[in-house]
Protein backbone atom coordinates (compact mmCIF):
# COMPACT_ATOMS: atom_id res chain seq x y z
CA UNK A 1 0.00 0.00 0.00
CA UNK A 2 1.32 3.41 -1.04
CA UNK A 3 -0.04 6.22 1.14
CA UNK A 4 0.37 9.85 0.22
CA UNK A 5 -0.68 12.23 2.93
CA UNK A 6 -1.21 15.99 2.48
CA UNK A 7 1.80 16.24 0.19
CA UNK A 8 3.04 19.75 -0.60
CA UNK A 9 5.86 20.83 -2.86
CA UNK A 10 6.78 24.32 -4.02
CA UNK A 11 9.00 25.15 -6.95
CA UNK A 12 9.84 28.82 -7.14
CA UNK A 13 6.57 30.66 -6.51
CA UNK A 14 4.33 27.82 -7.63
CA UNK A 15 2.59 25.28 -5.42
CA UNK A 16 3.22 22.31 -7.70
CA UNK A 17 1.61 19.97 -5.18
CA UNK A 18 -0.95 21.63 -2.96
CA UNK A 19 -2.02 19.02 -0.42
CA UNK A 20 -2.36 15.69 -2.22
CA UNK A 21 -3.77 12.76 -0.28
CA UNK A 22 -4.09 9.42 -1.96
CA UNK A 23 -3.71 5.74 -1.19
CA UNK A 24 -2.98 3.08 -3.76
CA UNK A 25 -3.54 -0.54 -2.70
CA UNK A 26 -1.24 -3.35 -3.86
CA UNK A 27 -1.97 -4.63 -7.32
CA UNK A 28 -4.14 -1.72 -8.47
CA UNK A 29 -3.95 -0.43 -12.05
CA UNK A 30 -4.22 3.32 -11.69
CA UNK A 31 -4.18 6.15 -14.24
CA UNK A 32 -2.88 9.51 -13.14
CA UNK A 33 -4.06 12.21 -15.53
CA UNK A 34 -4.02 15.96 -15.79
CA UNK A 35 -3.01 18.76 -18.13
CA UNK A 36 0.62 19.86 -18.43
CA UNK A 37 1.79 21.50 -15.23
CA UNK A 38 -0.86 19.82 -13.05
CA UNK A 39 1.82 18.14 -10.90
CA UNK A 40 1.59 14.53 -12.13
CA UNK A 41 5.30 14.00 -12.65
CA UNK A 42 6.17 15.84 -9.44
CA UNK A 43 3.76 13.60 -7.53
CA UNK A 44 5.16 10.30 -8.79
CA UNK A 45 8.73 11.45 -8.21
CA UNK A 46 7.85 11.68 -4.53
CA UNK A 47 6.74 8.04 -4.46
CA UNK A 48 10.31 6.74 -4.63
CA UNK A 49 12.00 9.69 -2.93
CA UNK A 50 13.44 11.27 -6.07
CA UNK A 51 12.00 14.49 -4.66
CA UNK A 52 11.71 15.42 -1.00
CA UNK A 53 8.39 16.98 0.04
CA UNK A 54 8.17 20.42 1.65
CA UNK A 55 5.36 19.04 3.83
CA UNK A 56 3.38 15.83 4.08
CA UNK A 57 4.57 12.24 3.75
CA UNK A 58 4.70 9.30 1.41
CA UNK A 59 4.83 5.84 2.95
CA UNK A 60 5.09 2.39 1.41
CA UNK A 61 3.67 -0.23 3.76
CA UNK A 62 4.08 2.19 6.62
CA UNK A 63 7.72 3.15 5.97
CA UNK A 64 8.41 6.77 5.05
CA UNK A 65 10.16 6.66 1.68
CA UNK A 66 12.60 9.43 2.56
CA UNK A 67 13.84 7.30 5.49
CA UNK A 68 14.77 4.44 3.21
CA UNK A 69 15.09 5.43 -0.44
CA UNK A 70 16.66 2.09 -1.36
CA UNK A 71 13.56 0.20 -0.28
CA UNK A 72 11.29 2.78 -1.93
CA UNK A 73 13.19 2.57 -5.23
CA UNK A 74 13.29 -1.21 -5.13
CA UNK A 75 9.58 -1.60 -4.40
CA UNK A 76 8.50 1.14 -6.80
CA UNK A 77 10.08 0.75 -10.21
CA UNK A 78 9.94 3.83 -12.40
CA UNK A 79 10.07 4.30 -16.15
CA UNK A 80 10.42 7.81 -17.53
CA UNK A 81 9.65 9.63 -20.72
CA UNK A 82 12.49 9.57 -23.26
CA UNK A 83 13.67 5.98 -22.68
CA UNK A 84 16.77 6.70 -24.75
CA UNK A 85 18.16 8.91 -22.01
CA UNK A 86 17.67 6.43 -19.20
CA UNK A 87 19.71 3.54 -20.55
CA UNK A 88 23.10 3.06 -18.98
CA UNK A 89 24.55 0.45 -21.31
CA UNK A 90 24.78 -0.03 -25.05
CA UNK A 91 23.25 -3.51 -25.03
CA UNK A 92 19.93 -4.74 -23.64
CA UNK A 93 20.98 -7.27 -20.99
CA UNK A 94 23.79 -5.09 -19.69
CA UNK A 95 21.32 -2.27 -19.19
CA UNK A 96 18.67 -4.37 -17.46
CA UNK A 97 21.37 -5.68 -15.09
CA UNK A 98 22.19 -2.17 -13.82
CA UNK A 99 19.57 -2.04 -11.05
CA UNK A 100 20.27 -5.51 -9.62
CA UNK A 101 24.02 -4.77 -9.77
CA UNK A 102 23.48 -1.69 -7.64
CA UNK A 103 21.67 -3.86 -5.09
CA UNK A 104 24.87 -5.90 -4.80
CA UNK A 105 23.24 -9.17 -5.79
CA UNK A 106 25.41 -12.06 -6.92
CA UNK A 107 25.91 -12.76 -10.61
CA UNK A 108 23.64 -15.83 -10.67
CA UNK A 109 20.75 -13.88 -9.18
CA UNK A 110 21.41 -10.91 -11.48
CA UNK A 111 21.33 -13.17 -14.55
CA UNK A 112 18.13 -14.81 -13.35
CA UNK A 113 16.43 -11.44 -12.86
CA UNK A 114 17.58 -10.14 -16.23
CA UNK A 115 16.23 -13.26 -17.97
CA UNK A 116 12.92 -13.06 -16.12
CA UNK A 117 12.50 -9.34 -16.78
CA UNK A 118 13.28 -9.68 -20.48
CA UNK A 119 10.89 -12.62 -20.80
CA UNK A 120 8.15 -10.54 -19.21
CA UNK A 121 8.43 -8.00 -22.04
CA UNK A 122 9.10 -10.62 -24.75
CA UNK A 123 12.64 -9.47 -25.40
CA UNK A 124 14.41 -12.68 -24.32
CA UNK A 125 15.93 -13.01 -27.79
CA UNK A 126 17.21 -9.44 -27.82
CA UNK A 127 19.44 -9.75 -24.73
CA UNK A 128 22.64 -9.01 -26.65
CA UNK A 129 21.12 -6.52 -29.10
CA UNK A 130 22.27 -2.93 -29.25
CA UNK A 131 19.59 -0.72 -27.71
CA UNK A 132 20.01 1.94 -30.40
CA UNK A 133 19.13 -0.66 -33.04
CA UNK A 134 15.72 -1.36 -31.45
CA UNK A 135 12.42 0.30 -32.33
CA UNK A 136 10.81 2.87 -30.04
CA UNK A 137 8.34 0.32 -28.69
CA UNK A 138 11.11 -2.18 -27.98
CA UNK A 139 13.12 0.52 -26.24
CA UNK A 140 10.14 1.32 -24.03
CA UNK A 141 9.92 -2.38 -23.16
CA UNK A 142 13.66 -2.52 -22.34
CA UNK A 143 13.12 0.41 -19.98
CA UNK A 144 10.25 -1.50 -18.35
CA UNK A 145 12.45 -4.59 -18.03
CA UNK A 146 15.11 -2.43 -16.35
CA UNK A 147 12.55 -1.48 -13.70
CA UNK A 148 11.17 -5.03 -13.41
CA UNK A 149 14.64 -6.42 -12.69
CA UNK A 150 14.40 -4.68 -9.31
CA UNK A 151 11.38 -6.97 -8.68
CA UNK A 152 9.15 -4.06 -7.70
CA UNK A 153 5.64 -4.30 -6.27
CA UNK A 154 4.60 -1.25 -8.26
CA UNK A 155 5.58 -0.04 -11.68
CA UNK A 156 5.21 3.69 -12.33
CA UNK A 157 5.34 4.83 -15.96
CA UNK A 158 5.59 8.53 -16.70
CA UNK A 159 4.20 9.15 -20.21
CA UNK A 160 5.53 5.84 -21.51
CA UNK A 161 3.65 5.97 -24.80
CA UNK A 162 4.67 9.35 -26.19
CA UNK A 163 5.96 8.99 -29.72
CA UNK A 164 5.01 5.34 -30.16
CA UNK A 165 3.04 4.19 -33.20
CA UNK A 166 -0.20 2.27 -32.70
CA UNK A 167 1.16 -1.32 -32.78
CA UNK A 168 4.03 -0.42 -30.44
CA UNK A 169 1.58 1.29 -28.12
CA UNK A 170 -0.70 -1.76 -28.06
CA UNK A 171 2.24 -4.04 -27.40
CA UNK A 172 3.48 -1.98 -24.43
CA UNK A 173 -0.07 -1.80 -23.02
CA UNK A 174 -0.64 -5.55 -23.43
CA UNK A 175 2.54 -6.23 -21.49
CA UNK A 176 1.36 -3.88 -18.74
CA UNK A 177 -1.94 -5.77 -18.62
CA UNK A 178 -0.06 -9.02 -18.15
CA UNK A 179 2.01 -7.55 -15.34
CA UNK A 180 -1.09 -6.18 -13.66
CA UNK A 181 -2.75 -9.58 -13.98
CA UNK A 182 0.23 -11.09 -12.18
CA UNK A 183 -0.31 -8.74 -9.26
CA UNK A 184 2.10 -5.88 -9.97
CA UNK A 185 0.59 -2.50 -9.20
CA UNK A 186 0.68 -0.29 -12.28
CA UNK A 187 0.53 3.51 -12.22
CA UNK A 188 0.49 5.24 -15.59
CA UNK A 189 0.98 9.00 -15.79
CA UNK A 190 -0.49 10.38 -18.98
CA UNK A 191 -2.50 13.12 -20.62
CA UNK A 192 -3.63 10.80 -23.39
CA UNK A 193 -6.12 8.13 -22.30
CA UNK A 194 -6.65 6.41 -25.66
CA UNK A 195 -6.61 2.60 -25.22
CA UNK A 196 -5.89 3.03 -21.52
CA UNK A 197 -9.22 3.76 -19.86
CA UNK A 198 -10.63 0.30 -20.47
CA UNK A 199 -7.63 -1.41 -18.95
CA UNK A 200 -7.30 0.41 -15.64
CA UNK A 201 -9.13 0.02 -12.31
CA UNK A 202 -9.00 3.65 -11.34
CA UNK A 203 -8.49 7.15 -12.65
CA UNK A 204 -7.05 9.98 -10.58
CA UNK A 205 -7.03 13.47 -12.09
CA UNK A 206 -4.81 16.28 -10.85
CA UNK A 207 -5.37 19.97 -11.43
CA UNK A 208 -3.10 22.69 -10.12
CA UNK A 209 -1.54 20.35 -7.61
CA UNK A 210 -4.75 18.94 -6.19
CA UNK A 211 -6.71 15.73 -6.72
CA UNK A 212 -9.92 16.81 -8.42
CA UNK A 213 -11.30 13.45 -9.49
CA UNK A 214 -10.82 9.91 -8.24
CA UNK A 215 -13.13 7.26 -9.70
CA UNK A 216 -13.28 4.16 -11.88
CA UNK A 217 -12.39 5.28 -15.44
CA UNK A 218 -15.82 4.52 -16.88
CA UNK A 219 -17.46 6.91 -14.42
CA UNK A 220 -14.81 9.58 -14.81
CA UNK A 221 -14.80 9.98 -18.57
CA UNK A 222 -17.70 12.44 -18.84
CA UNK A 223 -16.00 14.87 -16.48
CA UNK A 224 -12.62 14.86 -18.22
CA UNK A 225 -13.19 17.59 -20.84
CA UNK A 226 -13.94 20.05 -18.02
CA UNK A 227 -10.45 19.35 -16.69
CA UNK A 228 -8.71 19.94 -19.99
CA UNK A 229 -8.30 16.23 -20.80
CA UNK A 230 -9.58 14.80 -24.04
CA UNK A 231 -12.31 12.17 -23.73
CA UNK A 232 -10.66 9.05 -25.19
CA UNK A 233 -13.97 7.84 -26.69
CA UNK A 234 -14.22 10.75 -29.09
Amino acid sequence: MIEVSDLRYRYGDVDVLDGVTLSIPDGQYCLLVGPNGSGKTTLVRHLNALLTPDAGTVTVDGTDVTDDPVVARTRIGMVFQHPRDQFVAATVAADVAFGPENLGLDRVEIDRRVDTALDAVDLGDAAESRIDALSGGEQARVAIAGALAMEPDYLVLDEPLVGLDWPARQSVLDHLDALAADGTGVIVVTHDLRDLHERADRLVALHEGQVVLDAPPAEALDTLPDLGIRDPRC
Partner: protein
Amino acid sequence: MLSYRPGSTVAHRLDPRSKLLFQFGFAIAAVAHPTLPWLVGTTAFALCALAAARLSPLAVLRSYRIVLAVLALAPFVAGVAPGPPWFRVDPALRSALHVGRILPVLLVSAAYLTSTPVRDTRAAVQRLIPGKPGQILGIGMALVVRLFPLVLADVREVRDAIHARGGEARPLRDRVRLLAVRSLERTLDRSDRLSVALRARCFAWNPTLPPLAFDRRDYPVLAVGIALAVSPLVSV
Protein backbone atom coordinates in the same frame (compact mmCIF):
# COMPACT_ATOMS: atom_id res chain seq x y z
CA MET B 1 37.76 2.85 -38.67
CA LEU B 2 38.95 0.05 -36.44
CA SER B 3 36.62 -1.15 -33.77
CA TYR B 4 35.96 -4.29 -31.78
CA ARG B 5 35.32 -7.43 -33.80
CA PRO B 6 34.05 -10.55 -32.06
CA GLY B 7 36.45 -13.46 -32.37
CA SER B 8 38.32 -16.20 -30.58
CA THR B 9 41.96 -15.32 -31.27
CA VAL B 10 44.64 -15.50 -28.60
CA ALA B 11 44.27 -11.75 -28.10
CA HIS B 12 40.49 -12.04 -27.70
CA ARG B 13 40.84 -14.64 -24.96
CA LEU B 14 43.20 -12.62 -22.77
CA ASP B 15 41.96 -10.72 -19.74
CA PRO B 16 41.62 -6.99 -20.55
CA ARG B 17 43.73 -6.10 -17.51
CA SER B 18 46.78 -7.95 -18.81
CA LYS B 19 46.21 -6.54 -22.29
CA LEU B 20 45.94 -2.99 -20.95
CA LEU B 21 49.12 -3.28 -18.92
CA PHE B 22 50.90 -4.87 -21.86
CA GLN B 23 49.78 -2.04 -24.08
CA PHE B 24 51.02 0.65 -21.70
CA GLY B 25 54.30 -1.20 -21.12
CA PHE B 26 54.80 -1.53 -24.84
CA ALA B 27 54.10 2.15 -25.48
CA ILE B 28 56.70 3.14 -22.88
CA ALA B 29 59.27 0.76 -24.34
CA ALA B 30 58.61 1.77 -27.95
CA VAL B 31 59.16 5.49 -27.43
CA ALA B 32 62.15 5.01 -25.13
CA HIS B 33 64.90 4.74 -27.75
CA PRO B 34 64.77 6.46 -31.14
CA THR B 35 67.35 4.16 -32.71
CA LEU B 36 67.02 1.96 -35.77
CA PRO B 37 67.69 -1.45 -34.15
CA TRP B 38 65.24 -0.67 -31.34
CA LEU B 39 62.66 0.42 -33.90
CA VAL B 40 63.08 -2.80 -35.86
CA GLY B 41 62.71 -4.80 -32.65
CA THR B 42 59.56 -3.05 -31.43
CA THR B 43 57.99 -3.22 -34.90
CA ALA B 44 58.62 -6.98 -35.04
CA PHE B 45 57.09 -7.27 -31.57
CA ALA B 46 54.06 -5.25 -32.66
CA LEU B 47 53.56 -7.45 -35.71
CA CYS B 48 53.44 -10.45 -33.36
CA ALA B 49 50.71 -8.69 -31.36
CA LEU B 50 48.77 -8.11 -34.58
CA ALA B 51 49.16 -11.78 -35.47
CA ALA B 52 47.79 -12.72 -32.05
CA ALA B 53 44.70 -10.66 -32.88
CA ARG B 54 44.63 -11.94 -36.51
CA LEU B 55 44.70 -8.37 -37.73
CA SER B 56 46.26 -7.29 -41.01
CA PRO B 57 48.94 -4.56 -40.68
CA LEU B 58 47.62 -3.01 -43.88
CA ALA B 59 44.14 -2.62 -42.37
CA VAL B 60 45.68 -0.77 -39.43
CA LEU B 61 47.73 1.51 -41.67
CA ARG B 62 44.65 2.30 -43.71
CA SER B 63 42.58 3.18 -40.68
CA TYR B 64 45.28 5.44 -39.22
CA ARG B 65 46.15 6.98 -42.61
CA ILE B 66 45.37 10.55 -41.57
CA VAL B 67 47.52 10.29 -38.45
CA LEU B 68 50.28 8.67 -40.45
CA ALA B 69 50.15 11.26 -43.22
CA VAL B 70 50.57 14.05 -40.68
CA LEU B 71 53.40 12.20 -38.96
CA ALA B 72 55.09 11.57 -42.31
CA LEU B 73 55.30 15.33 -42.89
CA ALA B 74 57.43 15.79 -39.78
CA PRO B 75 60.76 14.64 -41.32
CA PHE B 76 60.28 17.08 -44.22
CA VAL B 77 59.48 19.92 -41.88
CA ALA B 78 62.51 18.96 -39.81
CA GLY B 79 64.79 18.86 -42.86
CA VAL B 80 63.80 22.18 -44.34
CA ALA B 81 66.43 24.82 -43.68
CA PRO B 82 66.00 28.58 -44.07
CA GLY B 83 69.16 28.94 -46.19
CA PRO B 84 71.48 26.77 -48.34
CA PRO B 85 71.49 23.83 -48.62
CA TRP B 86 67.71 24.37 -48.03
CA PHE B 87 67.24 20.75 -46.97
CA ARG B 88 69.38 19.02 -44.38
CA VAL B 89 69.33 15.23 -44.17
CA ASP B 90 70.46 14.70 -40.58
CA PRO B 91 67.54 16.37 -38.77
CA ALA B 92 65.16 14.77 -41.26
CA LEU B 93 66.48 11.31 -40.45
CA ARG B 94 66.38 12.07 -36.74
CA SER B 95 62.75 13.08 -37.07
CA ALA B 96 61.96 10.01 -39.20
CA LEU B 97 63.29 7.74 -36.44
CA HIS B 98 61.23 9.58 -33.85
CA VAL B 99 58.10 9.32 -35.91
CA GLY B 100 58.87 5.70 -36.76
CA ARG B 101 58.70 4.76 -33.07
CA ILE B 102 55.03 5.60 -33.11
CA LEU B 103 54.10 3.08 -35.77
CA PRO B 104 54.46 -0.02 -33.54
CA VAL B 105 52.45 1.75 -30.81
CA LEU B 106 49.62 2.35 -33.26
CA LEU B 107 49.78 -1.29 -34.34
CA VAL B 108 49.56 -2.59 -30.78
CA SER B 109 46.73 -0.26 -29.83
CA ALA B 110 44.86 -1.42 -32.93
CA ALA B 111 45.35 -5.04 -31.86
CA TYR B 112 43.97 -4.11 -28.45
CA LEU B 113 40.88 -2.33 -29.57
CA THR B 114 39.86 -4.85 -32.22
CA SER B 115 40.17 -7.72 -29.72
CA THR B 116 38.67 -6.04 -26.64
CA PRO B 117 35.06 -4.89 -26.32
CA VAL B 118 34.77 -1.49 -24.64
CA ARG B 119 32.80 -3.05 -21.77
CA ASP B 120 35.83 -5.23 -20.96
CA THR B 121 38.10 -2.20 -20.70
CA ARG B 122 35.47 -0.58 -18.52
CA ALA B 123 35.39 -3.70 -16.31
CA ALA B 124 39.19 -3.65 -16.12
CA VAL B 125 39.19 0.02 -15.07
CA GLN B 126 36.53 -0.66 -12.44
CA ARG B 127 38.52 -3.55 -11.03
CA LEU B 128 42.01 -2.06 -11.28
CA ILE B 129 41.07 1.23 -9.59
CA PRO B 130 39.68 0.60 -6.12
CA GLY B 131 36.75 2.32 -4.42
CA LYS B 132 34.76 5.30 -5.56
CA PRO B 133 37.14 6.49 -8.31
CA GLY B 134 36.96 3.06 -9.96
CA GLN B 135 33.17 3.06 -9.79
CA ILE B 136 32.88 6.59 -11.19
CA LEU B 137 35.29 5.91 -14.05
CA GLY B 138 33.91 2.43 -14.82
CA ILE B 139 30.23 3.37 -14.93
CA GLY B 140 31.19 6.71 -16.48
CA MET B 141 32.93 4.98 -19.39
CA ALA B 142 29.91 2.78 -20.03
CA LEU B 143 27.65 5.84 -20.03
CA VAL B 144 29.88 7.91 -22.32
CA VAL B 145 30.01 5.08 -24.83
CA ARG B 146 26.24 4.72 -24.60
CA LEU B 147 25.56 8.47 -24.97
CA PHE B 148 28.21 9.49 -27.49
CA PRO B 149 26.13 8.49 -30.56
CA LEU B 150 23.11 10.42 -29.20
CA VAL B 151 25.14 13.54 -28.46
CA LEU B 152 26.90 13.32 -31.82
CA ALA B 153 23.51 13.13 -33.53
CA ASP B 154 22.40 16.19 -31.48
CA VAL B 155 25.46 18.16 -32.53
CA ARG B 156 24.99 17.27 -36.20
CA GLU B 157 21.29 18.12 -36.05
CA VAL B 158 22.09 21.50 -34.53
CA ARG B 159 24.70 22.14 -37.23
CA ASP B 160 22.25 21.17 -39.99
CA ALA B 161 19.54 23.36 -38.49
CA ILE B 162 21.92 26.33 -38.49
CA HIS B 163 22.79 25.62 -42.13
CA ALA B 164 19.15 25.22 -43.08
CA ARG B 165 18.37 28.69 -41.77
CA GLY B 166 21.09 30.30 -43.84
CA GLY B 167 23.65 30.27 -41.04
CA GLU B 168 26.43 30.02 -43.64
CA ALA B 169 26.08 33.72 -44.29
CA ARG B 170 26.63 34.63 -40.64
CA PRO B 171 30.09 35.36 -39.24
CA LEU B 172 32.04 32.33 -38.00
CA ARG B 173 31.86 33.60 -34.44
CA ASP B 174 28.05 33.61 -34.43
CA ARG B 175 27.79 30.21 -36.06
CA VAL B 176 30.16 28.65 -33.56
CA ARG B 177 28.42 30.31 -30.63
CA LEU B 178 25.02 29.03 -31.76
CA LEU B 179 26.35 25.55 -32.36
CA ALA B 180 28.06 25.39 -28.98
CA VAL B 181 25.08 26.81 -27.05
CA ARG B 182 22.43 24.64 -28.66
CA SER B 183 24.53 21.49 -28.35
CA LEU B 184 25.33 22.25 -24.73
CA GLU B 185 21.67 22.86 -23.87
CA ARG B 186 20.62 19.52 -25.31
CA THR B 187 23.51 17.83 -23.57
CA LEU B 188 22.59 19.27 -20.18
CA ASP B 189 18.92 18.29 -20.65
CA ARG B 190 20.05 14.73 -21.25
CA SER B 191 22.19 14.98 -18.12
CA ASP B 192 19.16 15.97 -16.02
CA ARG B 193 17.10 13.05 -17.32
CA LEU B 194 19.95 10.60 -16.89
CA SER B 195 20.59 11.62 -13.30
CA VAL B 196 16.95 11.02 -12.33
CA ALA B 197 17.01 7.64 -14.06
CA LEU B 198 20.24 6.63 -12.30
CA ARG B 199 18.82 7.56 -8.92
CA ALA B 200 15.59 5.65 -9.57
CA ARG B 201 17.70 2.58 -10.28
CA CYS B 202 19.60 2.83 -6.98
CA PHE B 203 22.92 4.05 -8.44
CA ALA B 204 25.30 2.91 -5.70
CA TRP B 205 28.96 3.13 -4.75
CA ASN B 206 29.17 -0.59 -4.08
CA PRO B 207 27.55 -2.55 -6.91
CA THR B 208 28.30 -6.06 -8.04
CA LEU B 209 31.39 -5.67 -10.23
CA PRO B 210 31.40 -6.85 -13.84
CA PRO B 211 32.80 -10.38 -14.15
CA LEU B 212 36.39 -10.82 -15.32
CA ALA B 213 38.55 -13.90 -15.03
CA PHE B 214 42.33 -13.92 -14.96
CA ASP B 215 43.57 -17.05 -16.68
CA ARG B 216 46.90 -18.86 -16.67
CA ARG B 217 47.72 -17.52 -20.14
CA ASP B 218 47.44 -13.95 -18.82
CA TYR B 219 50.48 -14.19 -16.54
CA PRO B 220 53.15 -14.29 -19.28
CA VAL B 221 51.46 -11.35 -21.04
CA LEU B 222 51.41 -9.40 -17.80
CA ALA B 223 55.08 -10.26 -17.14
CA VAL B 224 56.11 -9.12 -20.63
CA GLY B 225 54.09 -5.91 -20.19
CA ILE B 226 55.87 -5.09 -16.94
CA ALA B 227 59.25 -6.03 -18.43
CA LEU B 228 58.56 -3.68 -21.37
CA ALA B 229 57.51 -0.87 -19.05
CA VAL B 230 60.81 -1.01 -17.18
CA SER B 231 62.93 -1.75 -20.26
CA PRO B 232 63.88 1.94 -20.78
CA LEU B 233 65.78 1.72 -17.49
CA VAL B 234 68.03 -0.95 -19.00
CA SER B 235 70.67 0.63 -21.19
CA VAL B 236 70.90 -0.80 -24.67
